[in-house]
Symmetry: C2
């Protein structure tokens, strides 16, 4: 994965060369992301960080989505990524588990609001950023270092830098520099999963990616071998096996078309198991009191990063496959409320959670799981998930994405305001400047009829 | 290296418990650091970053040393670390090659100016920060991953966070959180050595360390196993062998007493070889035209991170042991000018540089090198460096540190202003608030006689 070659691709990419279906998928990803940003902007991790850092804000260049506070572009990128990551309810690139939209879109929206970027520019740069983040993840290799790194952050900073370099129209040399500066800022440890620092990682990735592009724009340089060099990103973060990773089909095959949009508000690795539990619960109308035990077989990574046995907080519960299975059977759903502090500490949930067992099965892929539930009357039911819900093989419809958006937006917007914003984001490609979306994300703002699209609410 | 235990040490440490000789060494390190910050604040890397980022500055909470621009505390930390790192002329912890003063002191000065910290508080917190940064480096192990990581940054962010946590009087829980937030931001790749991004790494470390403390102060949490956990700092950055590193003699043995202050303006790993070359040149009054060849034997790390054969820029020349040897023989010195663009491209230097050969000798320690020079008349001279100049075994005197300071300060201050600032920094422990030093670092500022120390210029 050569830095210079990647820079050349970014510079040469034309929006018109991206297939319409890929562009459509990018818009779907942005609808999914924006809802998450609204849903997460009142979360405790967001409030704490705002309390700590608002005193450091620079001039009002960009908006904190859903809140209306204004800050310099870098802090806007930080907080919008923090908000959209706080609920762990965004997207996931199945092969790498990277959640690229949060760092990439947050950096882009801040940069585009500050520099008056158009909707089409943002969608184009978003495709680029997601591509770079996910390809970096693929290049590192999924098995590297026992899942120690929080790759949504380590690869997200590269994606954010690539996207912002495109939006700012940097030339090849400057784009290479932006990638290099971002590479040497790649950070994030999975030990903080289940804590507020997880979202802070993603926030840093967005901010530092934009910052890399701003530095490169003025001539700051790094190494043109920042990715592939002996002491570069791939070698140091991925080990020897990943140091020379290919850039095959760059510009013809797009990773943004391989995103899943989470139907459940928890770590993506829980999704196959939760999905199977929900299916069993609904198909057989199971009640928790009937259940003697739940046996899960899951991909090994699940027990490496999501095996919290007795979560004490909502954030911890998002990293607990035991909790995910328990709420699926107790509540029959796995939305935001199922992964809040209250639910993590709920007696009925805890009681069933203790009866869930899980074993790692190396034969299972990242979107597979097997569940066997044993009832008091000795009946047994089992279910195998082979494709993860929300992923390309079982996609959320546009209508379902809109519903998810409405659910999350209601935290900060009245119904009519949410509908107006939803219409704007579905039609983002037609917007002359991204600021109209940003302003519509804030409850107090007036409608802007001039920018309202004439096309139907959901264009597909 | 347990996060909670380290946090407890930081919280419980009392300034009075730190031996006077250790405090004295901390003051010497700060004199050395402050000179570097003044000398580097006009460097191109600094100017470029300021050009790119000044539009993002928040309220005037703290000063850019030597410049007088004011910014929010986080940007002040960033730029003061960038300035003090830009010339690569600061300090080095011999065992780890970490240069802890830049990230730790820059974060501290910004925090202390903003929060009206006293000189004694800064010196105390500085001892803590250097201790944490260097112990983290020792825990990672010097041989980890083929020197891929820029540990001045990866460990510096921990040191900066620890120092700021102490300065802000965080309790044990919050200090642990600050360490955790910093750990998950640990970043920096050695592929960018020899480019402006190297100093940017150090700048991020200072800024992110302070930011970790500010976030923790308001209640943001990370993992209490951030350092020692399975997917934590030591395991992911250092590999399995370093995951459980001891905290022996914490509070009784101080790493700040094991710093070297660079006499040469280049990567620390060049110092033993450059020192030997300078000794030969002066002892035998050698002229470049006499020299047929220079043969170096150096520690393996030298050829891993400082083997640039034909540096094209000053920054690249700081990573070239060939260049270091060449300027030692051509110029008879190895100061700031010897590692500038002009000297990197100089014909006479390049001509001799091409006659320098180097081989890696695993028997040589980090402060050792062997040089053999062959003259046209077939004479041969050799010299072995066994202790690095500027290190604890061959320390710079206080007078030499003052001279180094004057040399660097003259870039931005008139002679009398430099002397006044020098007197203040030597007497930092007596200062009621750190702002007096900061203000005296700027040419336009008036003297502040009330804070001038009554004691002699150089107290030891």
């Amino acid at each position: 994965m050569e830095t210079r070659e990647l820079a050349r691709f970014i510079v040469c990419s034309q929006f018109g060369d991206i297939p319409g279906s890929v562009q459509d998928e990018a818009v779907r990803a942005l609808v999914n992301w924006l809802g998450g940003a609204l849903g997460g902007c009142l979360e405790p991790a967001f409030e704490t960080a705002l309390d700590a850092l608002a005193s450091q804000f620079g001039p009002a260049q960009a908006t904190l989505l859903g809140r209306g506070d204004r800050a310099d572009a870098l802090w806007s990128a930080f907080f919008n990524a923090l908000g959209s990551s706080a609920l762990d309810f965004g997207d996931a690139h199945i092969a790498t588990r990277i959640q690229p939209s949060a760092p990439v879109a947050a950096a882009l929206f801040a940069a585009a609001e500050h520099r008056s970027g158009s909707g089409a520019q943002v969608v184009h740069a978003f495709c680029i950023g997601v591509e770079v983040a996910c390809r970096a993840g693929l290049a590192l290799g999924v098995q590297q270092d026992d899942h120690g790194r929080h790759n949504t952050a380590t690869c997200g900073v590269l994606g954010a830098a690539a996207a912002c370099a495109k939006l700012l129209c940097l030339d090849e040399q400057a784009t290479s520099a932006a990638l290099g500066i971002a590479a040497t800022q790649a950070a994030g440890l999975n030990v903080v999963l289940g804590t507020p620092a997880r979202s802070i990682d993603v926030a840093f990735a967005a901010r530092n990616g934009l910052m890399a592009a701003l530095l490169a724009e003025k001539g700051c340089t790094a190494s043109d071998l920042a990715l592939e060099g002996k002491r570069g990103f791939l070698s140091v973060l991925g080990g020897a096996q990943s140091a020379v990773a290919p850039l095959q089909e760059l510009g013809t095959s797009w990773e943004v078309a391989r995103l899943a949009y989470k139907p459940f508000a928890c770590d993506f690795v829980l999704h196959p198991a939760v999905s199977a539990c929900l299916e069993l619960r609904h198909e057989y109308a199971l009640r928790p009191s009937q259940i003697v035990s739940v046996g899960l077989r899951v991909a090994p990574v699940v027990l490496q990063i999501a095996a919290t046995r007795t979560p004490q907080t909502g954030l911890e519960s998002k990293q607990s496959v035991f909790h995910g299975a328990a709420v699926a059977f107790v509540d029959g759903t796995a939305g935001v409320r199922q992964f809040q502090d209250q639910r993590a500490r709920n007696g009925r949930v805890a009681e069933l959670r203790a009866r869930v067992e899980a074993i790692a099965d190396p034969q299972l892929g990242p979107d597979e799981a097997h569940v066997e539930v044993t009832l008091r009357d000795s009946r047994r039911y089992e279910r195998r998930t082979r494709t993860v819900p929300g992923g390309p093989a079982r996609p959320l419809t546009d209508a379902a994405l809109s519903e998810k958006f409405r659910l999350l937006a209601q935290e900060v917007l009245a119904t009519d305001q949410a509908e107006r914003l939803l219409a704007l984001i579905w039609n983002i490609r037609a917007l002359g400047e991204i600021g109209s979306i940003v302003r519509a994300s804030v409850a107090e703002c007036e409608a802007e009829p001039a920018e309202l699209p004439g096309s139907p609410l959901i264009p597909r």
